[in-house]
């Protein structure tokens, strides 16, 4: 809705029809909207915005956001250009992803839902959540906010908005028609815009690597890589695209596209989803020049950390063939396209003999709590093994691991939202009864899987709380099982009821009273395991009264502990990462989130890593803020 604040503003005084046309005198919608321009900054740019902002508009109309010129250039390199079918395909499937003044300063871009961000007010600075990362979400937004990995230090410590680096000079800049790629835009940001003269500083590795290695090689976390995008029209005539796989990983490639300020030898590369059959629906052999452009491309992940696994030790990169792109990382049809990016064996930097290995104590890791798909395949028919699928029912019905039963831990093991203790765990005897009726006993080996880790890990935290004796998390989850080529079943499974003899461990769970007494207790670390948008108070849980976090808590998003599709990094990496944030096994670590589920998922991982004193804050933020605000009706 248009707000009063807008109508009173300078832009509001311009008058609607000045920008949107239509008929402002009409009394009914049809007449009023005749000739109307819904998105004037696209279709009436010069008159709507250019009347007052002429200089900016001249640049914007040729900017990368408006024109997508480098995208078009690269696609033309692959298609050979001049094909009407492909123009239609690009228009249908790719053309939506551009924006103009309104998409950054007034409303959400149409392709991500549209609607005003702030009552039609014109905001000089775009909304990071509603505008910037509404479009740049999957890669940039998720990585920056800790929805994949532990987030970016510029968000965590710097509170930096996108425009802190991506200034208006860049975003409004006209892109030359022959610009070969977005990294060639002269106004693009550089790390060295702020971090000047690094090679002259006190860090020896900067001096050694400056100019040879892209900054992100040493300072990024793993990132997502998408594969095999296909487009087409569905049975209702609607255009669709679908990617067949995404994997979280990290690869170093050779820099095949140096620019004057980025002429280093090694760079991080990301697999972009373009497939040789991308436009097969529209034309045979549409990407006939597919081999001209690599689809492992330079990337600048937005998940920077000062301390990473790569820069913890020379030999985490040197001599680590696995980290460098090789032919074995390529699909058959893309080998030729990526030959220039692949790092040959003789260009993988040699081991540094005098660098001692990093010492991380992994002796307390409970290795049996993590099982891989090969183990499960070999043990599938064991009588004492109970396999639990904790995805939603539709996913279970579409195909599950043979023999797996279905359990929804979020709705079956916790109080409902309309209870006095919403979303907190049910009483142990009730949980035991539910588990027993499903055929789960406390002496069985319980293996839980899902597709994104936290539901399985939360379920396992409940199992440990309840006193289960043997329980494991399936590393790589259902995607790992599927990619290994193992069979899936669509037959629902129910096991004969049994008894789950509960041996609850109440010390694993803390309530609000305990939290309020221990906010400043030495040796107690409260870890807020939510994503940074929530722990930084930019967004809130739907059930929370307002955004916020528990005072003094450390921000460490859960996705720093689990990778996409239930992947898990080696224990030594995880322990090193946690230690960098002050989370060490010698402390009492209390995990908190919004409703306790992610806290449980974090609890499982820390227990697996050998932490002895770990606690789950069951009530978490939704319960805590009511506890703090309404002390007269405190619930634990």
């Amino acid at each position: 809705m248009v707000s009063q604040e807008f109508t009173d503003s300078e832009h509001g005084q311009v008058g609607c029809t000045e920008c949107h046309a239509g008929n402002g005198d009409a009394q009914d919608k049809t007449a009023a909207h005749k000739g109307m321009i819904p998105q004037p900054s696209f279709n009436n740019l010069d008159d709507a915005c250019g009347d007052c902002h002429d200089e900016i508009v001249q640049g914007v109309s040729q900017s990368l956001h408006f024109s997508l010129s480098t995208f078009t250039t690269i696609m033309a390199s692959r298609t050979g250009g001049n094909d009407a079918h492909l123009d239609m395909a690009q228009e249908r499937h790719c053309g939506d992803c551009h924006t103009s003044c309104g998409g950054c300063h007034v409303s959400r871009p149409k392709n991500v839902g549209g609607g005003f961000v702030d009552g039609h007010n014109f905001n000089k600075r775009p909304s990071i959540l509603e505008q910037c990362t509404a479009c740049h979400g999957s890669r940039v937004g998720n990585e920056y906010m800790g929805k994949r990995g532990q987030g970016d230090v510029h968000a965590l410590k710097g509170n930096m908005h996108c425009v802190a680096c991506h200034t208006q000079e860049e975003l409004h800049a006209p892109a030359p028609a022959d610009l070969p790629g977005r990294y060639h835009l002269a106004q693009k940001p550089e790390c060295t815009d702020c971090h000047k003269d690094l090679e002259k500083g006190s860090i020896r590795d900067h001096e050694i690597h400056a100019g040879k290695v892209q900054c992100q090689v040493c300072h990024s976390q793993t990132y997502t890589n998408c594969y095999s995008c296909h487009t087409g029209m569905d049975k209702d005539g609607l255009p669709y695209y679908t990617t067949q796989l995404d994997k979280e990983t990290m690869k170093i490639g050779l820099n095949t596209d140096p620019t004057p300020d980025a002429d280093y030898s090694y760079m991080l590369v990301r697999h972009v989803p373009v497939d040789k059959e991308l436009f097969a629906h529209y034309a045979d052999n549409a990407l006939k020049q597919f081999d001209k452009v690599p689809n492992w491309k330079r990337t600048s992940p937005h998940n920077i950390q000062r301390k990473t696994w790569q820069n913890a030790n020379c030999n985490h990169c040197h001599g680590n063939r696995e980290l460098f792109l090789s032919d074995s990382d390529l699909l058959d049809y893309e080998i030729k396209a990526n030959q220039r990016v692949v790092v040959p064996d003789n260009r993988v930097p040699a081991l540094v003999e005098q660098a001692p290995a990093l010492s991380v104590d992994t002796s307390a890791v409970k290795v049996g709590r993590l099982k891989d798909t090969q183990w499960l395949k070999a043990n599938l028919t064991r009588k004492d093994l109970v396999i639990i699928d904790v995805r939603d029912k539709a996913s279970y019905d579409a195909g599950h691991i043979p023999g797996a039963i279905l359990l929804d831990p979020v709705t079956e093991l916790r109080w409902p939202w309309d209870s006095e203790t919403p979303q907190q765990l049910l009483k142990p005897e009730v949980i035991a009864d539910i588990l027993g009726k499903k055929g789960i006993s406390n002496t069985a080996h319980i293996l839980v899987y899902d597709n994104d880790a936290w539901r399985a890990a939360f379920t396992l935290s409940v199992m440990e709380y309840m006193g289960a004796q043997r329980f494991s998390f399936l590393k790589d989850g259902i995607q790992g099982w599927r990619l290994a080529g193992y069979e899936l079943s669509k037959t629902p499974v129910s096991l004969p009821p049994t008894q789950f003899k509960a041996d609850p461990q109440p010390g694993f769970i803390v309530d609000n009273e305990w939290m309020s007494k221990n906010l400043d207790t030495p040796g107690v670390e409260i870890v807020d395991i939510r994503t940074l948008d929530q722990s930084k108070k930019l967004a809130k849980h739907a059930r929370a009264l307002k955004a916020g976090r528990i005072p003094g808590s450390i921000k460490f998003p859960i996705y720093g502990l689990y990778m996409d599709h239930a992947g898990v990094k080696p224990a030594e990496q995880l322990l090193h990462t946690l230690a960098n944030r002050g989370i060490t096994p010698d402390k009492t670590v209390v995990l908190t989130c919004n409703t306790g589920a992610w806290a449980g998922a974090g609890f499982f991982m820390l227990r697996y890593l050998g932490f002895e004193n770990v606690r789950m804050h069951d009530a978490s933020w939704v319960g805590w803020e009511r506890f703090v605000r309404y002390p007269e009706c405190r619930q634990p």
């Binding site: 005084q13 311009v14 008058g15 609607c16 402002g24 669709y240 679908t242």
Partner: protein, 62 residues
């Protein structure tokens, strides 16, 4: 031609006045737009029944 300073101020004043008049006129003329687009009730009444559709086959990280 370079105009005397006082004359330039006068021109600015006149153009500013004309612009203000134009803005006031056009804002007044658009009261119908504001009436609908600032009222949730009226907006809901007039919402198009044809919602933009997205294919259910669309998938992927995007």
């Amino acid at each position: 031609m370079i105009l005397p300073k006082q004359f330039r101020f006068l021109l600015h004043g006149v153009s500013g006045l004309l612009l203000s008049m134009a803005l006031v006129c056009s804002a007044g003329a658009d009261q119908g737009c504001i009436d609908c687009h600032s009222s949730q009730e009226k907006l809901i009444q007039n919402l198009s029944k044809e919602k933009p559709k997205k294919s259910a086959m669309t998938s992927g990280a995007g």
